[in-house]
């Protein structure tokens, strides 16, 4: 397939923190997010003189699971190397990583392209390495700026996943990341909700022009933003007749822009050499014994077959392991209704409130689903009730169940006779709309439907109502 001029070409380098209990080379707890700085440290992760690394077997296993899930070929012998550079957050003056002998090479992951077709994104390599510490920059009012170092993060296990330049749009890159995140979470090796758990460097170019590396992107949204910014910037440069320079640019999350790295960074010489404190790894046989759980694609296919739901709903539900688990736990015998309610309504409402699926009061949700399934309430009342208990949950209030509220407030879907009277009243009160309809403006009926809905507080089904109104109006005409 030939690609158009200025085709966007993107490759990603993704660093993910593994969710092991302890760090990569020492016994310090990896769960430091809510703790004071420098409280998860020992001689090893502080790089004290004489301390030696001891490889965390669990971290290797997690990384191998990822390799297997992304179809990588495992190397006969893998080896840790030292990447030498000075930086205040790097306690040893080198990072223990893998260089010419990573864990695996040549894998792939399937994602949807912008037309909705499945395509293969090739994975170049995956390797294991340690995270450096974290610098916290302070600017005081009464003193010059200074920096503090927190070594809690030092030595946390990271996997670096490098893709081939197979991505063709910022949206596609975002979808790739979402799919990757889902896969890692299905493998239970990664927690995408943990702050700072993912960091991305993105290489982006327009076909036939120089490549730009965007560093320092630390969110899923950020990747798409940074890439969109770069596409626009690079296209504008070409339009102005300027040439794109090969450079490293930093993404500024707050402003949503990338800026050229001001320091005249030369091509760094990291002086890699094999880490003499660790022995090479031979893990091929081990990989063969590792069994993988059901992954997103397989679960999606199963959902379609087992629950009789649409491919789109199945894709949405299985795109996040928490959502898929929630669905399977609550669907009961209402698998289709539940799929629609979760995919088309619940997720949007959660997103709007920055809530997680785990925050949904499950009993309330099931209760609501049963009301809808039994036809007790209209969809509109259903949405109102859902919003009400999500808001309540957000505020930590104790809430009555939807079925209790329905009884208390009389929100049961109105019967035909119940609103016949209301209908007649509305028709009588709106002669203009009636004459509009009678003079051929079919849309006028919608206004009348709205009026009746208002009177019944949403308890009427708008489609049935429309038909009844039309019948009524036609009757009058004759």
């Amino acid at each position: 397939m030939t690609e158009p001029e200025n085709q966007v070409i993107i490759g990603l380098e993704i660093h993910c923190q593994l969710n092991t209990k302890t760090k990569l080379f020492c016994g310090c707890s990896n769960d430091y997010q809510n703790d004071e700085p420098n409280t998860h440290c020992c001689p090893v992760c502080l790089g004290l003189p004489g301390a030696l690394p001891r490889l965390n077997k669990k971290a290797v296993e997690s990384a191998l699971k990822v390799c297997k899930a992304l179809n990588l070929e495992i190397l006969e012998e893998c080896e840790f190397s030292r990447k030498n550079y000075f930086y205040p957050d790097l306690p040893k003056g080198y990072q223990v990583t893998m260089y010419d002998k990573p864990l695996g090479e040549r894998g792939h992951l399937l994602v949807e392209d912008d037309e909705g077709h499945e395509k293969t994104i090739r994975i170049t390599r995956i390797h294991l390495e340690e995270d450096p510490g974290r610098l916290v920059h302070k600017t005081g009012r009464d003193r010059a700026g200074y920096s503090l170092v927190d070594y809690n993060r030092s030595c946390v296990p990271l996997i670096e996943i490098v893709t081939e330049p197979d991505l063709r749009s910022p949206k596609e890159a975002r979808r790739f990341l979402n799919k990757l995140r889902a896969t890692l979470e299905y493998l239970d090796v990664f927690d995408g909700e943990r702050e700072g758990s993912i960091r991305v460097d993105a290489n982006i170019s327009l076909k036939g022009h120089s490549r730009v590396e965007c560093k320092n992107i630390s969110s899923y949204k950020g990747v798409e933003k940074a890439l969109n910014f770069e596409v626009t910037r690079q296209k504008n440069m070409l339009r102005r007749g300027a040439e794109i320079v090969m450079e490293t640019r930093h993404f500024q999350e707050g402003k949503g822009i990338t800026t050229s790295s001001r320091s005249k960074e030369k091509e760094s010489d990291y002086r890699y050499f094999p880490e003499p404190d660790l022995r090479p790894l031979r893990v091929r046989d081990w990989v063969d014994t590792i069994e993988l759980p059901e992954l997103p694609d397989a679960r999606r296919e199963r959902f379609v077959k087992q629950y009789g739901i649409s491919l789109n709903h199945a894709r949405t539900l299985t795109g996040d392991i928490r959502v898929a688990n929630f669905y399977e736990q609550v669907a009961g015998d209402q698998s289709v209704l539940c799929a629609t309610l979760v995919s088309d309504t619940l997720l949007g409402e959660l997103n709007y409130r920055s809530m997680k699926i785990a925050d949904v009061p499950r009993d309330h949700f099931v209760d609501l689903m049963q009301l809808l399934a039994a036809g007790t309430i209209t969809d509109r009342v259903g949405v109102d009730l859902l919003r009400e208990f999500l808001d309540g949950s957000l505020e930590g209030a104790t809430m009555a169940r939807p079925s209790e509220i329905v009884t208390k407030r009389g929100l049961t879907k109105a019967g035909d006779d119940e609103f016949a009277e209301i209908m007649i009243r509305v028709i009588d009160a709106n002669p203009q709309a009636v004459s509009d309809y009678q003079s051929g403006n079919a849309g006028a009926v919608n206004f009348l439907v709205g009026q009746v809905m208002k009177e019944t507080r949403g308890r009427a089904d708008p489609i049935t109502l429309g038909a009844l109104l039309k019948a009524q109006l036609e009757e009058r005409e004759t």
Binding site: P43, L46, G47, L48, P49, G50, A51, L52, P53, R54, L55, R82, N84, F86, Y87, P88, P91, K92, G93, Y94, A144, S147, V149, D269, R271, Y272, F273, P276, D277, L278, R279
Partner: protein, 433 residues
Amino acid sequence: MTQILSFDAEDEYNAFITICREAEYGEGPLAGRGVAVKDNISTAGIQTTAGSRILEGYIPPYDAHVVGLLKSAGAAIVGKTNMDEFGMGTSTENSGFGPTTNPCDTNRVPGGSSGGSAAAVASGMVDLALGTDTGGSIRCPASYCGIVGLKPTYGRISRYGLIAYSNSLEQIGPMGQTVSDVSGLMEVISAYDFHDSTSYNAPYTHTPNAAAVEGLKIGVPAEYFGVGVDPAVAEAVRTAIGRLESLGAEAVPCTIPSMAYALAAYYVTCTSEASSNLSRFDGVRFGPESGRKKMWHDEFRGIRGEKFGREVQQRIMLGTFALSAGYYGKYYAKAQIARANVRADFERVLSEVDVICGPTMPAVAFAFGEKSDPLSMYLADILTVPANLAGVPAISVPCGTVDSMPVGLQIIGRHFEDELVVDTAFAYEQGGN
């Protein structure tokens, strides 16, 4: 129950950087015996400088594995011994805390880099000490000061807590007045430690046995008696080998051709590893700080330029160069090939003989300042370096004198046959009595 050993020996040879006058000890095979520990081995609560001003005032919060073992064996740690800065030297002249003198002749160097440990033992301040040996740093000062020193098989002693100079070459080892003392100390420090991924679970539990020398086949490599070796030293060592023969051993000639590349392979490897190991000394977390507020890279450069000694800076630069893009293949990668050849040569020879014997050092201890250019100093390591490259055990045991200065007989054995090396040294030592 914890008891206190009062250590009041006078340090006339500057053997110690830190002395613990009141040393605690407990129960065990070494109960109440004073042990001197080389200052590159971490001791909780006791300053540990590795002979460098960049670590002045650094008090480790943890014990090296071997130090923990010493304490559980009841030993009293009486101090931290002087050394060439980070182990980089053959004379202990490169210490940031002044040189140690040789108790046999104070105008001469004690050898290095474990010169402080050797002088502390030779002068009788202690009868046991720990040293470390990267390219001969236990055996050289043992030879120069007339004591016994063992470099164990690589991987037999945990390096956890040893301030790294060249990780793939160095081992902690015992030093003492007698082979029995050295063997006893070896037994204490060889317990397995999972913290060191390059160590094996192969504890040494052995009592020296002189009878092992009967029928022992000794290889005598031509290269250990060739150009650069003082004929008088060679003669003393040949006499020593003669004594082992009279005790029932058989000496056969052999060759180790790869020794021609050993020194170059050694210096490329150790400086490369050192250039990386020493990066952590940046003044951020330990050691003195400059007190001036600068940008971090200026601060790093300033403190490293000021506090590292000349030899250390030289080796960091050599190693940095050897690992640089475009030079890695020429130097580091080639050195590893040469190293593999040395190892293969030793394995070949040691498949035909049980041990290899030769001089520890090409000459007796030299005078202070005598080897002022680095290259002539490096050449002194030619006979000790091969055992580190090959990872095999090697011991130095005193075998007479030349110009009233001690000579060392070096005995090299197969991987994990430290016991046979000790037995051979023991047979020699006992055979003279």
